[in-house]
């Protein structure tokens, strides 16, 4: 892992076209601005972790009998 120190308003450039800026520093919270192309996904780490974890739970349970659920089908177009 690369460790850098930055002050308020300083930036980090990642690759050819991603820029991370320190927008605000308040107490123990840092506000970051991220400039990246639209095809690069940027998310808080806990979001990715939540989805990975839910995928894992879903996969672990997918062998279970599907419960009978009364869900009307949508009319096919």
């Amino acid at each position: 892992m690369l460790i850098l120190s930055r002050r308020l308003n300083e930036k980090i450039v990642i690759g050819d076209d991603i820029v991370v800026s320190v927008v605000e520093v308040r107490g123990d919270q840092v506000k970051l601005g991220i400039d990246a192309p639209r095809n690069v996904k940027v998310f808080r780490e806990e979001v990715f972790i939540a989805i990975q974890e839910e995928n894992r739970k879903a996969a672990a349970a997918s062998g279970m009998q599907l419960p009978l659920m009364d869900i009307p089908e949508r009319p096919k177009p």
Binding site: K41, V47, I51, E54, N55, R56, A58, I71, R74
Partner: protein, 146 residues
């Protein structure tokens, strides 16, 4: 082709049921080749790994219980699977069947998007705070009718 499935043992699947996920699914990035099959039970589907018989996901059409579900299919990130026409898009939510005492839930924050035209798929992450990883299907179906 013959595919070993978690739910139904070995079955015959058509090549047209094959879906390729260039980036895999989150947490399962190494597994890219799946088939999509109707579950015997409506309205579910299975996304069955071709490589690992024990790896399968239950899917549901999220619009069945959340008619207000929305996602931006014109986002450039969907260019990963080459989507150009909205009609080519299939959207599914992964279903989690819980242990005792909880409802069956669907993940609306990380839906599965499949391009019917080229049989490529991806799992995308939606930034909209309305969509969480656990939506109680029956509760929200009831609420959508209220």
């Amino acid at each position: 082709m013959r595919v070993k499935t978690k739910a139904y043992g070995e079955i015959d699947a058509d090549e047209r049921q094959r879906v390729s996920f260039p980036a895999g699914l989150l947490g399962f990035e190494k597994f890219k080749d799946y088939i999509l099959l109707d579950a015997r039970q409506n309205p579910f589907f299975y996304l069955q790994s071709i490589d690992v018989p024990d790896l399968a996901f239950i899917l549901i059409d999220p619009f069945l219980f959340r008619p207000d579900y929305s996602l931006d299919v014109n986002d450039d990130s969907l260019g990963d699977i080459g989507v150009s026409e909205p009609e080519d898009v299939l959207v599914f939510a992964i279903v989690t069947v819980p242990g005792e005492g909880a409802g069956v839930t669907a993940n609306l924050m990380g839906p599965i998007i499949i391009n019917k035209a080229n049989r490529l798929g991806m799992q995308t992450v939606l930034p909209d705070a309305r969509w969480r990883v656990k939506h109680d299907i029956m509760a929200e179906l009831a609420a959508s009718k209220a």
